[in-house]
Amino acid sequence: MIHSRSFETAGAAPSSTGSAERSVEVAATEWIFGRVADGNKLPVAEAECVVNVLYTEGAWGGRVVLPPLSVADPSVFLSVHAVNVATLAMALARLQQFDPPSIRSVGLAALLHNVGMARISAEVWRKQGKLTPEEREMVKRHPVEGAILLLATHDSLDLAAVVAYEHHLRMDGSGYPKLTYARSAHFVSRLVQVCDVFCALSADRPYRKAWPVDVILSFLDERSGFEFHPTIAATLTTLVRDDLALATI
């Protein structure tokens, strides 16, 4: 039976390596995003540290339970979401037979996929109510802002830049930003996209409650092949069902 709890609170029962301890990763990510928001260079080594810790948590067979997330404080939503997406993306990458360094690269790209948000006025993305059209346009700039930031920071962040730029591009060519050069999104962008959607929908937001996991999985399944990469969506469904099954034992 599918667990009906919000997935982002599914790991409420903490384990020695599990979700409750991810508050430190969240805090470190919050510090990283704060540095960027203040106009500093992205602390790459520190971001890698978050990913390495998340990676070693899962590498030896630990469950990929997402951490408890307090959405009561929207100011940390970005960081919590980033950690969740990174964790899930690395789990999917592992299931996709990526080698260890590649899994960590996927994790870093996933952790930073929304880093462009840090360059957008916090008032906009923390806003509780409905966004105005102008504000929505500002938010839609975050893939470009993220890509600009990451491309300029270090050449090892090329994949992260691509993912930041492409994670809102859909399989059917819709989404944003608009491309000058026709191309499909990178596989890792597709992978992070699915994780991004899953984690976003499973969290309580000021304007809506978290979706139940089975509803999210149905949503992904319905749009598989059009909006989401079918293999990735299927892999995520398998992963989540297995994980929930473990959690309910």
Binding site: C49, N52, I103, S105, T153, D155, L159, V162, T180, R183
Partner: protein, 524 residues
């Protein structure tokens, strides 16, 4: 092990040739410890007791450096490192930071902290990391410290092989952080230490973004930076300059990225590579040349000289000529090359680039031993009114048809007076190329010179009859041309009139035509 390094060393009590052990003894002496009894904790206590560490921090640091950096292959270093681990865990935090800070040379700093991150036992690494952050006065937030501690715990407690993986990641992570902290700007770590370096990921494939994707994205975002340049360099190295240029063509006209990309790839080295590549891609080279300007000319001239591909040489001649007279100094430099084809091409380039023919250069090359060089020199000189007549006179006397032909053609408008005797003389030479005779006769005919008439009579008249009248030469194209020229230019001259009178008596239609014709143009 109880911490007594000397006893735990395999060679303890030996001749003291072990570097690590010797360094450890030095450390014990600095801490005023009995050497045989020197544990890490005791040395730490000794160093802390009377401010010894503050006074000798550089000496301590040098000893630590020696152990970390210089004893990598020392089989006994392991025991010393364990002692060192105990020392670091026991040492006062301020003293440890002071010891790390004691070195002023940034390279040695770098070596030391990175070697320590790679070699120090895990239990002391966390403390060492805190001390490094403090020594470099870098921000080391509590969550990050906790994450490092967590990695260290996993390196110690996870089951194999996960413990080794965590250990490697911890050390790699600390090297990256130390490099960041010890770098002047406090920026990101250098590429080689990155677990996620692009080169490494490219080998594994799936977690690597294609270089052209990065370029496209950069143009779309109007972004530049390290990742863009790495991708761009990769494309160029792999022969994708044409692809780069295609992408740039699609960019908005005011795209700063497109301009920066063209500037980066528009190098003389890349131009040379493209000029040598097969098949030759003129469109790509053209795009590159737009950004390079005259700085490309040197490479282009070199390639013009060396290229064995006719298509490439022809392309280069054309594009070099477009630089115009500005290019002259570079061509003059190349004219010193003694190879005939180089000199020929350079003179041809002078001409097509509209460089004015100067007398010294022209004179040097119109008397060149190789007719191909002479020909180009003549063609060039003929375009300058100041040198034209003189050079024409000289060239019409040239024995080589390849020089003679353009000279005759250049004289079609009017044969300079100075050239008339030369051509008249040459026309009568037995080796004068027959195909040029009619044209030469016509040119001489138009000159109206008496010297020319002598030559024309030679072709139109064949001596005299028994009655002293001029005998018309056997009919030939040359004879008809000479007769026509004489009829046109010297109708009343005594000898000419006599010949023409004789000619009019014949019933030959061709001769009649020649006498009526305004002039017969010979084909040359």
């Amino acid at each position: 092990m109880d911490g007594r390094v000397e006893e735990s060393m395999p060679g303890a009590g030996g001749a003291g040739t072990m570097t690590a052990l010797a360094a450890w003894r030095n450390l014990a002496r600095l801490a005023d410890c009995t050497i045989g009894d020197a544990t890490g904790a005791r040395i730490a206590a000794g160093l802390s007791s009377d401010g010894a560490a503050t006074q000798s921090s550089l000496a301590i640091r040098n000893v630590l450096h020696e152990i970390m950096v210089d004893t990598r292959s020392d089989p006994d270093a392991g025991a010393v490192l364990a002692g060192l681990s105990e020392l670091i865990l026991s040492l006062d935090a301020n003293i440890l930071a002071a010891v790390i800070r004691a070195e002023n040379d940034p390279d040695r700093h770098h070596d030391f902290v990175c070697a320590t991150a790679e070699r120090l036992p895990v239990d002391a690494l966390v403390r060492f990391a805190t001390a490094v952050a403090s020594a470099f006065r870098r921000e080391y937030p509590v969550p990050l410290q906790t994450l490092i501690e967590r990695l260290a715990v996993r390196a110690r407690t996870l089951p194999p092989p996960a413990d080794q993986e965590a250990d490697a990641l911890l050390r790699q992570q600390l090297v990256a952080l130390f490099r960041t902290w010890s770098s002047r700007q406090g920026s990101h770590p250098i590429r080689q230490t990155q677990a996620s370096s692009r080169t490494r990921r490219r080998k594994s494939g799936r977690a690597s973004a294609e270089a052209d994707r990065i370029l496209e994205m950069a143009v779309e975002c109007n972004a530049t930076g390290a990742a863009v340049w790495t991708a761009l360099d990769e494309m160029v190295e792999e022969g994708g300059t044409g692809t780069v240029i295609d992408r740039v063509k699609m960019a908005p006209e005011d795209s700063a990225t497109a301009a920066a990309v063209m500037k980066r790839i528009g190098t003389p080295q890349e131009l040379r590579r493209l000029l040598r590549s097969e098949p030759f891609d003129g469109a790509t080279v053209d795009a590159l040349l737009r950004g390079l300007g005259l700085s490309a000319a040197k490479v282009m001239l070199e390639e013009l000289v060396e290229s064995t591909e006719r298509l490439t040489r022809r392309y280069l001649m054309d594009r070099l000529a477009r630089f115009g007279p500005e290019i002259r100094p570079l061509i003059e430099g190349r004219l010193k090359d003694q190879r005939w084809f180089v000199q020929r091409n350079m003179i041809a380039l002078m001409r097509s680039a509209k460089c004015v023919a100067d007398s010294p250069t022209v004179h040097k090359f119109v008397s060149h031993k190789d007719a191909r060089v002479r020909r180009e020199a003549v063609l060039w000189a003929l375009e300058n009114p100041a040198t034209k007549d003189e050079i024409l006179a000289r060239a019409l006397g040239d024995a080589d048809p390849s020089v003679l032909r353009p000279s005759l053609q250049a004289s079609r408008g009017s044969l300079p007076a100075v050239a008339v005797p030369v051509l008249a003389r040459r026309l009568l030479d037995a080796d004068f190329p027959p195909e040029f005779r009619v044209l030469s006769i016509n040119l001489l005919g138009r000159s109206g010179s008496v010297l020319a008439l002598e030559a024309l009579l030679h072709f139109a008249q064949n001596g005299k009859t028994l009655f002293g009248k001029p005998r018309i030469a056997t009919k030939s194209p040359e004879m008809l041309a000479a007769l026509a020229a004489i009829a046109r230019s010297w109708p009343t001259e005594r000898r000419a009139a006599a010949l023409l009178a004789q000619a009019r008596k014949t019933r030959d239609a061709d001769i009649a035509d020649a006498l009526r014709a305004p002039g017969i143009e010979g084909a040359a």
